[in-house]
Symmetry: C2
Subunit: 431 residues, 2 copies
């Protein structure tokens, strides 16, 4: 009886008969020989049906099995240098569990909207398959880095009674007899957790009801947010560059074949090592003005601005000390220059732009209250958050890394919509 | 200069001077000696201020520092068998960063509503601190088990265009120009992912707008959901019992001190090993009827029913083959007896009840369409889900493990509200 095997493990079954349970990715035929490319979720592999080497019923099934037919294939694993993975399967039997024709995603080119409408099937294709495996590795790498660096996972809530960031991009929801909002960031809750655990992080989905259609925006995206008590901006940036470097190194090490499928130039990722270059917001504005961008001190950067800055460096670059007016109410002003904050964005190279925003939070009660008023927010909504400044308040810092933007950079994507299994965009919530 | 240290590591600093950055958990004084219990997020430790051994300013600060004062403490690490962790800190200096009196959570007993209103501070207390560390370990253990067992993480979306389970407990949300819903389960999307990757899981928050106030219900809870292609009920149960056993063993191994703080009888957890006992739904009904429960064949179990069944076993127990009418539309009917489904719930012992629901999914297109109609659902909402039965459909199974219910059992909690950092309940969305 043939042993069950996964395609990723076939090398260890050379010369033996195995059973592969999977699907037909592609096929061609020369009459007496049928070639099938099988996939089983762990990889892709060529199977060869030679008339006479398997029952006639099975040989004919191999000739007729359409794209995406579900098949149980039994055969001999043979090393073959010409085969894509180095091995092929000499079929001894083939059972078609289900083989309806008409699979919508043929191997031709399809338009983006058509592919997005069939995202539930598109994720079977080699490129999307490779990409989502890189995504899983990236997420595991982030979590493992933090877990082994003394951080405790403390999940922030998704349904919140008030806004964390601005109020203009909130999704409102009816929560029984009152209103609630989908979280835009777990940060405020992270700050409570950091005062209990010292070093914490949350990881979960976040939501921004932004009416923008860009290559860099998703309505629903995942963010990993570390927060540290007794931590200033400088110490925070050190954690950021260590984490990004470690995560990139692990993904390159463990997902090299997938990055090759994606056509990623891995040499650019192999250069990512701390320390990362740092420029001030002031310097960034000058750099942009010299390049002809119409920006003046005090403006927030747009996507083309971030792209330009990030193209000037081979490494991710920190942009420090943005104007307080551009940033959220909780950012700590620089004591030496209160019009800027002790915060930094990290811009990924090759034009990808912001993947991290972070910095030091205000730890003084009265200053925080003043900022809440200046931002037109209702102090009553921040009672518990102000408590953190009433009892045992200490300097603390943290940051949020956007998973999809980081993946888009690491995988070399043109558009962020492929960086999440089921993207939610301005005009898309299907499938 | 004193080296920075975390309390969890003090054993390796014996005889040396360290700097601990933390908070005052408790204090007492005998005039010339002040005793402080410090916490720094990694542990608790006694610090002793003896007049003359530190500057007068610091000695007096030690005497006045209120509960939850933020302090930087420098001192000598000394082994002391009487001290709770085996070490104490002989203070050489103490700086109070912020020390406002009036911390609301004194060390007296407080009512549950008061504690829940101060959840952002309550998580600093030893019991909640221990519990949330067990939670983080449990989550990491689940993920590591699946990652090392060949599963790929594929995140399911939170915002969905249609209901996965029943339609009565859905949170509706305005998604630009249309309606959307908060996910109740990632399963339907998991099924698409399983056909692409073979073995997958999703992990994220799920939502049920249930108007019930029980010890076992949260409005927002986290679920880890594995799904496997080419997998029948029997194989699914085998994964479930292996996973639960591995996760329990790891938490007991790595979080023994925290379980001791919680007063958990660990010997009961040490018995958790596969195989788990199995009874049919029919047998469970008879068992309940013999015990005087007013239940008849066809009824779903209530919490008291599940509690009773689970108290009859030392191990988690599978209850198999529920009536199809009790369960979701996608459950595979037993071919030998179509009025029951090829599904099982896993009930945790000691009266905790359901922690997992799962089973085999319908893979036949026409049967699934019939079930959608029978459940009064709109087939138009399931177009992509039906595609999975049109192209390469194979037998597949999966399950969902509720993190908070599993934690409540492992930690021996009376109420699920403590099993999540910031619980959302029928009448609670603050803090």
């Amino acid at each position: 009886m043939a042993e069950g095997a996964f395609i990723r493990d076939v090398a260890s079954f050379e010369g033996r008969e195995v059973e592969i349970r999977g699907w037909v990715y592609n096929s061609r035929s020369s009459g007496r020989i049928h070639f099938l490319i099988l996939r089983d979720g762990t990889g892709f592999m060529q199977a060869v049906a030679v008339q006479g080497q398997l029952p006639d019923r099975a040989f004919q099934a191999a000739g007729f099995a359409p794209q995406e037919a579900a098949v149980v294939a039994r055969g001999l694993v043979r090393a073959d240098r010409r085969a894509p993975g180095g091995y092929e399967l000499e079929l001894r039997d083939l059972e078609v569990l289900q083989g309806s024709p008409g699979y919508p995603l043929t191997l031709k080119e399809h338009g983006v909207e058509f592919l997005m409408d069939h995202r539930h099937l598109w994720i079977r294709s080699p490129r999307q398959h490779a990409l989502l495996r890189v995504r899983a590795e990236l997420i595991a790498a982030c979590r493992d880095f933090l877990d082994s660096d003394g951080f405790t996972l403390v999940d922030a809530p998704i349904l919140t009674p008030a806004a964390a960031e601005g109020t203009t991009t909130l999704f409102e929801i009816r929560y029984f007899d009152r209103s609630a909002y989908l979280t835009q960031s777990g940060q405020l809750y992270n700050e409570a957790a950091a005062m209990a655990f010292g070093k914490v992080y949350c990881y979960g989905p976040t939501f921004r009801a932004e009416k923008s259609k860009t290559r860099r925006h998703l309505i629903e995206f995942w963010m990993i947010e570390p927060e540290m008590a007794y931590c200033d901006l400088e110490q925070c940036l050190e954690v950021e560059e260590r984490m990004v470097s470690a995560v990139v190194a692990r993904v390159v090490e463990r997902r090299r074949p997938e990055l090759a499928v994606l056509g990623r130039d891995v040499s650019k990722l192999e250069k990512i090592r701390p320390p990362f270059p740092r420029i001030s917001y002031d310097e960034a504005v000058e750099m942009l003005q010299r390049a002809g961008h119409s920006i003046k001190w005090g403006d927030d950067f747009g996507a083309p601005d971030e792209s330009y800055i990030s193209q000037q460096f081979d490494l991710p670059v920190f942009v420090l000390r943005y104007p307080a007016a551009c940033k959220a109410f909780y950012m700590q002003p620089d004591p030496a220059r209160p019009e800027v904050v002790l915060g930094a964005d990290l811009l990924a190279p090759e034009g990808y732009g912001e993947i991290i925003g972070g910095g030091q939070r205000i730890h003084d009660l009265e200053l925080l209250q003043a900022r809440i008023r200046e931002h037109g927010l209702n102090e009553a909504n921040y009672g518990w958050y102000l408590d953190l400044r009433r009892y045992g308040s200490v300097p603390h810092s943290g940051f949020g890394l956007g998973i999809e933007r980081t993946l888009a950079w690491m995988a070399g994507l043109e558009h962020i919509r492929e960086a999440i299994p089921f993207p939610r965009l301005l005009h898309r919530i299907y499938p």
